[in-house]
Amino acid sequence: MTDWLGPAEWTALWLSLKVAFWATLCSLPFGFAAAYALSRGQFWGRQALNILVHLPLVMPPVVTGYLLLLGFGRTGPLGEAFEALFGLVFAFRWTGAALAAAIMGFPLMVRAIRLSLDAIDPGLEEAASTLGASRLRVLRTVTLPLAWPGLLAGAVLGFAKGMGEFGATITFVSNIPGQTQTLALSIDTLLEVPGGEPLALRLALVSIAIAAVALIISEALASRARVRGRG
């Protein structure tokens, strides 16, 4: 197995996992918030938010990457703000790859969570509020756990997208080995050079195996939740 992939590929694999994991984890709260606002909110600008959330899906990934570069690059306004406030740099770091993956997976995640939220019986939220739970507590203790199937589906989609994201990532943070060169980027560059296909397909198989494991785990969690919910 160690022979099967070179050290650079092992590094890329590890990096992909890290990027997809953090992208999923960090975007889940925002994904939930956006889905909640879209499902429950009646505020003006709901449509605007809806459109904003879907943008990364509609635009070619390179455009998203380009806009990320303009906004979150070292000299971009948001990039400077994050560096000044949190000491967090995205440009040409794995954090930037995670940001790109998170943004690209965001519409998928929000849709999935929203379908679950729309299916929750509002009567349960009413019941919680009569029991003295503030809106925030209702959200945390009733809405959130009941949206679990959607959160799980959203996380799987986000993670899978994180494993596969290429266009926005390479445009935003380039293809730096050990730093931003994820499996998807390795695969893609291999396909750009003559004779790179065999290794590229081997790496693709590795991605698929990882995604398969994630899917199987998520299905098991979801069916356990269903069984528990029933009795």
């Binding site: 019941a127 919680a128 009569t130 029991l131 009941l146």
Partner: protein
């Protein structure tokens, strides 16, 4: 004491109701669509009324958010949280009197189960316990038993009685079932098309022939309050009521304890002379205080003795042939076995 004054317009329905709810249970009674649920939702803050004045003692809670009102609400569908165990559900609003509530409602064996595995009656008891453990200042019960069939209803009823007897907060109890109302409530507010049409003590309203049209002929019947005199070996209990001593099927109350008995009007037989050799144990001398003809073949007869009232429903034909008239002295015959256990409650 809860004081309610509401006004709200739906597209084709207007609610305009004001009434007080003292400590103890006040029943909200009325036909489907008369606004009972709307009132309860308004009190809980789940319905934003055009105009809502809800006073609880000195506090005006009418403009608070639902979670700030300290109100226990038991919905018709139990609305348990499916992702929590019974115990987690119970503790959701607080842990007030946890052990007592669990014991009172007989929930010990259910604590670790999930709501999906409960029968309807069990679920409703858990919902009740959950509302109680939040330590509410008011309880709102919206048809808490109507989804349950007879035997399951009978399971939950004693818990509601125990609750009424052991807490001193105002409770609103919505129901279509006069048996429940008479057994549980001290006061009754009758609604029709969004307005209060009759209200008062249950004993007065149910024995009032004028209220019969709102309550329904079949549900009419006086409620007697009495005191347990003693229990006999053969399973009967002697109860002293205003109208005389009654034998009823054995109840749990200790001697001297208070008791309420609902006597449906259609279960009372009248006799001009004192009958003899009858299987009915209760024969009471009474005076006719009023006669009211209905639309059907029946006549509602108000009876009085010792300051207490009873209602009897007889056919018009019997009323004529017996020459019933106000002021006449007759005997009221009640079967002990016809007094259903669910119509007797120990308060």
């Amino acid at each position: 004491m809860l004081q309610i004054d509401l006004r709200h317009s739906f597209p084709d329905f207007t609610l305009e109701a004001a009434f007080d709810v003292p400590a103890g249970i006040t029943a909200l009674f009325g036909p489907s669509g008369s606004g009972k649920t709307s009132i309860v939702r308004a009190v809980a803050g789940l319905l934003q009324c055009d105009d809502a004045d809800v006073r609880l003692g000195a506090r005006n809670i009418g403009r608070l958010r639902p979670h700030q009102r300290k109100i226990g609400y038991v919905f018709q569908d139990a609305r348990l949280f499916p992702h929590m165990t019974v115990l987690q559900n119970l503790r959701y609003g607080g842990r007030m009197d946890e052990d007592q509530v669990i014991a009172l409602l007989g929930l010990d064996d259910l604590l670790m189960r999930r709501p999906a595995g409960l029968s309807g009656g069990e679920a409703q008891r858990v919902a009740l316990g959950r509302a109680l453990m939040a330590g509410p200042d008011v309880m709102l019960l919206d048809e808490p038993l109507s989804a349950l069939d007879g035997p399951r209803k009978a399971d939950v009823m004693p818990y509601l009685e125990a609750l009424r007897d052991q807490s001193a907060i105002p409770m609103i109890y919505v129901s279509h079932d006069m048996t429940e109302v008479a057994r549980l409530a001290g006061r009754i507010v009758v609604l029709d098309r969004g307005r209060v049409v009759v209200q008062g003590a249950v004993e007065d309203v149910l024995a009032d022939p004028v209220a019969v049209p709102y309550i329904g002929v079949q549900d009419a019947g006086a409620v007697l309050t009495g005191r347990v005199v003693g229990h006999a070996d053969d399973g009967l209990t002697k109860v002293e009521t205003g109208i005389g001593a009654l034998w009823v099927p054995g109840v749990a109350g200790r001697a001297g304890g208070p008791l309420r008995i609902r006597i449906p009007a259609q279960d009372v037989i009248l006799s001009r002379s004192k009958p003899d050799g009858l299987s009915a144990l209760n024969v009471l001398p009474v005076t006719i205080a009023g006669l009211q003809e209905g639309r059907g073949p029946g006549v509602m007869v108000a009876l009085e003795a010792g300051g207490a009232r009873l209602l009897a429903r007889v056919t018009r034909r019997s009323a004529l042939s017996m020459g019933l008239a106000v002021g006449q002295n007759v005997h009221a015959i009640l079967k002990a076995t016809a007094i259903a256990p669910q119509d007797v409650s120990d308060r």
